[in-house]
């Protein structure tokens, strides 16, 4: 008796068989996961509100022009549980942010990674050891 290996399955189709009971974030309606953007700038405003916290940064391009970008975070309820507070980010702080651009083409995006430039610390992540790791 021999065993055989096949690298790929035969006929397949990707079908949405089931969806989570509670899809509390219509990400795909708002952002394009395929369009990543990474920008650096100083924080101009923070909105520590439900349903999503937001923060804004001024980004300067090569020609010196400044554009203001808005970044969406999750609910402060979740951020607080992960150890962050409304004071975790301060106006004037320089951060580098990576995330998915909004689908409507404006200067907004969904934040996936936020790094404090002065220390390299990752902000707002839900690490198992809480903030600062």
């Amino acid at each position: 008796m021999r065993t055989t290996l096949a690298v790929a399955a035969t006929a397949f189709g990707l079908v949405l068989a089931a969806v989570p009971t509670f899809a509390h974030h219509s990400f795909a309606a708002e952002f394009d996961a395929g369009k990543t953007v990474t920008l650096t700038g100083a924080v101009t405003k923070i909105e520590w509100t439900n349903p999503h916290a937001w923060f804004y940064i001024d980004v300067t391009d090569e020609s010196g022009k400044i554009a203001n970008w808005g970044w969406e975070l999750g609910s402060p309820n979740g951020l607080i549980r992960a150890g962050w507070t409304r004071n975790s980010l301060k106006v004037g702080t320089v951060v580098t942010v990576e995330g998915s651009r909004s689908r409507d083409g404006g200067n907004t995006a969904n934040a996936r990674i936020v790094i404090l430039n002065s220390t390299g610390q990752k902000l707002f992540a839900a690490s198992s050891q809480g903030p600062g790791r």
């Binding site: 509670f22 309606a29 996936r112």
Partner: protein
């Protein structure tokens, strides 16, 4: 002797894949996410198209799984990760020959929530459960001797969710809703989402406050509370339709059975619609201090051709507290459908 050498070589070559018995085969492989990283703890189900038998397993810490000793035939493979980091996965018509060890690596795509900071439910849920520190205690009792369901609870989604038998209009609407990226989902307008109790899964949680005559569910979504009356009252003859309906409960031993009618037709159950005929039955059981099992049945002859069952498993998170949730800064004007 030669057969032993051959067998050892095959084992070394295939590194741990299961030997198939005569007439049977196996699936094995790695489940990865959109970045190529392995996905641990992914619940995989293989359902036989010949007879409907179901086999299940969960991926290991390095994303690996094996489904062994399966009769030859055609299978539908599915993975539904807990909300909401990945799209649910389905691969149909996978043929398995007798004696075949089929290598089947599966790739999960990003879901509706992705890893938005503060919204990443999987990592946050793990953090919350790790710090839960559940004491080893008996289930507490109310003054009437019944189990006390009070506590702050974190929901786990049903690992192997059952699909409803939806009537054609409901199935079509559900498909359209996914096609539109959920852009019209109630939560996009700050309206309640999730039955029977909204917003009970990470990053949110629910609090139950239980007295002999009333069970109150508090949660971080509109309207913030749901009352389940335990004082023997009946449903109103002509209930005013609401998002959460009118709920009454009674005990069957240590099982609390809750009956709810009086729903409007506006909420979504996952992606499915329902009518005002919706009738929800919940059966609450607290098997031990740290766990709550809720078996839910949705019945709605206007939307489903038979009852739709779900099992919710809630974990006690005594270190946590409910936080206020006011949907005050909703920026929904730039949501885009397909």
């Amino acid at each position: 002797m030669r057969r032993h050498v051959f067998a050892a070589c095959v084992l070394l070559a295939f590194g741990g894949f299961v030997f198939a018995q005569a007439g049977r085969g196996s699936f094995a492989g790695v489940v990865t996410g959109p970045t190529g990283a392995p996905v641990p703890d992914a619940p995989i189900q293989a359902k036989s198209q010949q007879g409907g038998a179901v086999v299940r397993t969960v991926t290991s810490a390095d994303g690996r799984y094996t489904l062994a000793s399966l009769p030859a035939g055609t299978y539908d493979i599915s993975i539904a990760m807990p909300c909401c980091a990945f799209q649910p996965f389905s691969r149909q018509n996978v043929a398995l020959q007798a004696g075949q060890a089929l290598r089947l690596d599966l790739r999960l795509e990003e879901g509706v929530s992705l890893n938005t900071l503060g919204d990443d439910p999987g990592t946050l849920a793990a953090l919350l459960r790790n710090r839960a520190k559940i004491p080893s205690r008996l289930v507490p009792r109310l003054s009437n001797g019944k189990p006390d369901l009070s506590g702050v609870w974190l929901a786990n989604e049903d690992r192997y969710p059952e699909e409803p038998s939806a009537l054609p209009w409901a199935a079509a609407l559900a498909k359209e809703r996914i096609g539109n990226n959920f852009k019209d989902a109630p939560h996009t307008r700050c309206l309640p989402e999730g039955l029977p109790i909204p917003a009970s899964d990470p990053p949110f949680m629910a609090k139950l406050v239980h007295t002999p005559s009333l069970l109150v569910a508090l949660f971080e979504d509109a309207p913030g509370f749901r009352q389940i009356f335990l004082d023997g009252r009946a449903h109103p003859a002509d209930p005013n339709p609401g998002w959460l309906g009118h709920a009454v409960g009674k005990w069957d031993g240590d099982l609390l059975v809750v009956d709810t009618i009086g729903y409007n037709d506006k909420s979504w159950i996952g992606r499915y619609p329902h009518t005002e005929m919706l009738h929800v039955t919940e059966r609450y059981r607290r098997p031990d201090f740290g766990h709550l099992e809720i078996r839910v049945t949705f019945e709605d002859p206007g939307a489903f051709s038979k009852p739709w069952n779900q099992t919710l498993n809630w974990d006690l998170v005594p270190a946590e507290e409910l936080l206020e949730y006011v949907c005050e800064n909703n920026k929904a004007d730039h949501l885009v459908g397909k």
